[in-house]
Amino acid sequence: MRRKGGTDLVPNEVKLLVAAISATSSTSPEIHGYALARELADLEETHVTMSQSTLYRALRRLEQRGALESRWESIEEVQEDGRDGPPRRYYTVSPSGVALARAAVQSADRAKSSNPWQGWVPQLRGS
């Protein structure tokens, strides 16, 4: 996907990265897809969780960019957890993912603090 400027992340990717950082810690550094979707919904104060199609496509792109790392849960771990569903895929935010998220948030903060009247005049310049 061709992207323009900033961190090169589209809004959904930034949101997921921020939610993953928010939900993980040094004691529990991994998160699975549905828990991430729930965390994002909580952060956005909505009951609507991101659809599987959108969620996992965005996670694949973040993983390809090196922002996330993943591993499959083993059958033993599923049994230890007492679940009867299929194994989950767990994600960890990489150091470059943290840096990307920080840059994206700073970029959004800068845009918010810029002159609010600036946008009233369309700037006729090329992409």
Partner: protein
């Protein structure tokens, strides 16, 4: 290993009740991922299956919420199958161009007042300018063109709302078109306001798009009614059908714009 309370064993009964959602979801995933590399496809189906099982085991979620999310996912998958994985404004731009030409066609063939035809033409200019913005910069929301284009389109629809006559025999379609144009005006104003800030207010852009979607469906009904019923407007039947098709398909595609980046 990660620890969490989502999707743990306490959701067993809940999951048993909703096992049909898991089965249906798995079949939908299999159908909509045909053509992917076998390894990638297997991983994707397994990950989505685990997600659905976790969602079903979540005490805060009903079986219907899981079913609705599965349906939303299927719609998104179909969109990706048809339009590809990239966020692009081209399909929406083509549809806006079709409606724009339809509006010009109506302006040139309509038997309504000169004012009404001028406003139809104005709407045509606005819609084609929106289409041009999408084609000029298909991977971005191109503010420099989109803002004035939305304003011109809003002027056109507002004028149309005021000047469209209520004619005996087609009153219901005239009224439907008047109402739909009024709502479309609100939609274009919301879109214009959303693209005023240089960062673009995506929440209001999506809300404006949703308003346009609702109004477009209403307008499509009016246009089809005109095309079928009104013998006096036979010359613009084609225009009415063109606008109706453009409204329905274009509206369905608007949601694709939510992830398109901004170009100033």
């Amino acid at each position: 290993m990660a620890s969490d309370t989502l999707g743990s064993a306490h959701g067993g009964d809940h999951r048993h009740r909703g096992s049909w959602v898991l089965r249906a979801g798995a079949w939908i995933d299999r159908a909509l991922t045909l053509g992917l590399e076998p390894e990638e496809r297997a991983g994707l189906i397994q990950e989505r299956g685990a997600d659905r099982a976790d969602h079903l085991a979540d005490c805060d979620a009903s079986v219907w919420a899981v079913a609705a999310r599965t349906a939303r996912s299927a719609v998104a998958d179909i969109g990706y199958l048809i339009l590809g994985g990239e966020a692009t404004a081209i399909p929406v731009a083509v549809m806006f161009a079709i409606i724009g030409f339809g509006a010009f066609w109506q302006a040139s063939t309509s038997e309504f007042s000169l004012f009404n035809r001028v406003f139809d033409g104005t709407l045509g200019v606005g819609l084609i300018a929106i289409a041009a913005a999408g084609l000029r910069c298909p991977r971005a929301i191109y503010r420099p063109w989109l803002l004035p284009a939305a304003v011109i389109a809003a002027i056109g629809t507002l004028g149309g709302t005021i000047t469209i006559p209520i004619v005996a025999g087609t009153e219901i379609y005239d009224m439907a078109n008047k109402g739909a144009l009024a709502i479309v005006t609100v939609g274009f104003v919301l879109v214009a306001l959303a693209v005023v800030p240089s960062t673009v207010n995506r929440t209001w852009l999506i809300r404006g798009g949703a308003v346009l979607w609702i109004a477009a469906l209403g307008n499509a009904v009016a246009q089809v009614g005109w095309a079928v019923v009104d013998a006096g407007m036979q010359t613009s039947r084609g225009a009415s059908v063109m606008v109706a098709v453009g409204c329905v398909v274009g509206a369905a595609l608007l949601g694709r714009l939510r992830n398109v980046p901004v170009t100033n």
